[in-house]
């Protein structure tokens, strides 16, 4: 009886904790959106910071990202084509490649890359700022952390996920065309038909929305986790761990939801 009671109690505590965290994240997101909507936010200083964030998040890793996309796309395209040829479904190979790589895999992998590289950095930075009372100091000096620290990072993250996904997708499309038809323009109309049959307008819209959510997840969640950090230095790694775990869960959730909406 005692054990059962304990179990229920622990479950309750966990649920409350989860709810608190979710609420914290949602409240933070609401604050971000309200800051976005405020005209005063959009001044030269904010824009400059956003540009810097885009540079750090996307442009700095562009060549690494493109090589990484090239490798993974080439491997998956080759495997798909040879398998399709073996089972006599070569006609469906192009569609399969586009659906798997462009619609699902590339946005997900891009978001993961940015979460690993920038998300973790953001989480640590915010947690350290919190522990060192820097955020309070900034507020005290009339430098709104939300406007000059958080919002530019979020905007940079969203733009980076979308931008890198677009560039990677174009590269993958080129690679797929070359793998299927080689260096000739003969397959252009058939390839266009396949692309057009996959990318209906709702699908394109869904893809854009998914990328935006990915971008929000990889920046907002680490930030919220950082802000939650108790003012003790040894809690910083715990905060990063929690933040990255949440990012991963959120990415999977967004992916699963988007798939469910599309195919169910």
């Amino acid at each position: 009886m005692e054990f059962l009671l304990n179990f229920v109690e622990r479950t309750g505590a966990k649920a409350v904790g989860w709810w608190g965290a979710t609420f914290g994240v949602l409240a933070f997101l609401a604050e971000v959106l309200s800051t976005l909507a405020r005209p005063a936010t959009w001044n030269r200083a904010t824009l400059d910071t956003i540009v810097k964030q885009i540079y750090f998040t996307a442009v700095q890793i562009l060549h690494v990202y493109l090589i990484y996309v090239l490798a993974i796309s080439w491997v998956i395209i080759t495997i798909t084509l040879s398998t399709a040829r073996n089972v006599g479904l070569f006609d469906a190979a192009a569609e399969m490649i586009i659906r798997v790589l462009l619609l699902e895999l590339l946005p997900f992998l891009t978001a993961l890359l940015i979460a690993l590289r920038s998300g973790s950095a953001i989480n640590t930075e915010v947690a350290l700022m919190k522990v060192n009372n820097e955020l309070d100091a900034l507020s005290h000096c009339k430098v709104e952390p939300m406007q000059f620290e958080f919002l530019p990072r979020i905007a940079g993250g969203v733009v980076s996920v979308i931008g890198l996904t677009v560039l990677g997708s174009v590269l993958t499309l080129l690679l797929a065309y070359l793998a299927i038809y080689g260096l000739s323009a003969t397959g252009l109309s058939a390839f266009s038909t396949t692309i057009s049959s996959v990318f209906s307008l709702p699908v394109l819209f869904g893809l854009a929305v998914k990328c935006i959510f990915f971008g929000l997840a990889v920046t907002t969640l680490p930030m919220a986790a950082g802000l939650e950090t108790p003012k003790k230095l040894f809690m910083v790694p715990v905060s990063v761990l929690r933040g990255m775990m949440r990012v991963f869960l959120a990415l999977v959730l967004i992916e699963v939801l988007s798939l469910a909406l599309k195919y169910i």
């Binding site: 540009v51 810097k52 885009i54 540079y55 931008g163 677009v166 058939a190 038909t193 990318f199």
Partner: protein, 316 residues
């Protein structure tokens, strides 16, 4: 460290925007957004296996797709399809629409236009969709194969017709290997075959005699042939005589012509008598010659032609 930061970010953002926009325009173009489309209604008994987005192909090239499949008020099937304007020029009033459901791979509607000189299919027209589904034919096929297998089994059973036939064939081939070979096999036994073989032997003697007779007839014919058509035979001689006759007649004609000319000369010119007498002398010799030749000819003819009663040739 962050040299040209703004330039790099600007390039990145512009590249992404340009590519995204270009891709959007490309997809819209590929989906025929900027192109007029031909609308079709397909009439079918059942919508089984037909779904929106299913491609319409002409000669294997996709030119359109099914846009919606619905039931109408009367419970009938309404299948709507769109074809791009560039693809619509292959659609004719006598084009046939076939639902092709392969065992493996996606179903599609195949369009074939047997006569490209027929009038074009107008917009919003209704066409019949023919359904050929190999999977539905499989049970029928299996039923027929089963029947065939049952028949084969019946024929090849232990006491069946096939076994009987094979036994008979064995007996016949055994007889064929006997003294009189195939004949014995056909006639049943050695006794039956013997008279046939004997009569065949008689026939042999008969043909030998016939051979002799025909040899004699042959010799006779050869002799006749030689007399009639040999190099110095009757036929050859008369041919030569005729040639000579023709030559002589030509000579005679020439001489008479000259006589004619001379007479004219004699009448017209009396002055040169010396010449005239010389000519006359020549003419006389000519005529003499001609008459002699004619005489020779007649002699020749008389000798060669077997008109005379004293022919010295006898039939063999």
């Amino acid at each position: 460290m962050f040299k040209n930061l703004h330039l790099k970010v600007g390039l990145f953002v512009i590249a992404v925007l340009a590519l995204a926009l270009a891709f959007l325009v490309y997809v819209l173009h590929a989906r025929g957004f900027f192109e007029q489309r031909l609308h079709l209604q397909l009439a079918a008994a059942s919508a089984e296996g037909i779904s929106p987005g299913m491609p319409l192909t002409f000669s294997g090239m996709p030119i359109g797709q099914v846009t919606s499949v619905n039931l109408n008020e009367a419970g009938g099937i309404v299948i709507k399809a769109e074809v791009s304007k560039s693809g619509a020029r292959w659609l004719r009033t006598d084009s046939s629409f076939n639902l092709d459901k392969p065992l493996v791979g996606g179903a599609k509607i195949k369009i074939s236009s047997p006569d490209l000189s027929s009038p074009q299919l107008p917009d919003n027209s209704t066409v019949l969709l023919l359904v050929s589904d190999p999977t539905q034919e499989i049970p029928l096929l299996i039923e027929r194969v089963k029947n065939i297998l049952a028949n084969v089994e019946h024929i090849t059973r232990q006491d069946g017709e096939l076994n009987g036939t094979l036994a008979n064939a064995k007996t016949i081939t055994a007889r064929m290997s006997g003294k009189y070979g195939v004949l014995e096999g056909v006639l049943g036994s050695e006794e039956n075959a013997r008279p046939v073989v004997n009569s065949l032997k008689n026939l042999e003697g008969l043909t030998a005699k016939l051979n002799e007779v025909s040899a004699k007839v042959d010799a006779m014919l050869a002799k006749t042939d030689r007399w009639l058509f040999a190099a110095d035979g009757v036929s050859e001689q008369s041919k030569q005589a005729l040639v000579q006759v023709r030559a002589m007649l030509a000579d005679a004609q020439g001489s008479l012509k000259r006589v004619d000319e001379l007479l004219k000369n004699a009448v017209a010119i009396s002055a040169d008598v010396k010449d005239g007498t010389q000519d006359l002398a020549k003419l006389r010799t000519d005529i003499d010659d001609s008459v002699r030749k004619a005489n020779d000819l007649l002699n020749d003819i008389n000798r060669m032609w077997p008109f005379g009663g004293d022919a010295d040739m006898k039939l063999p």
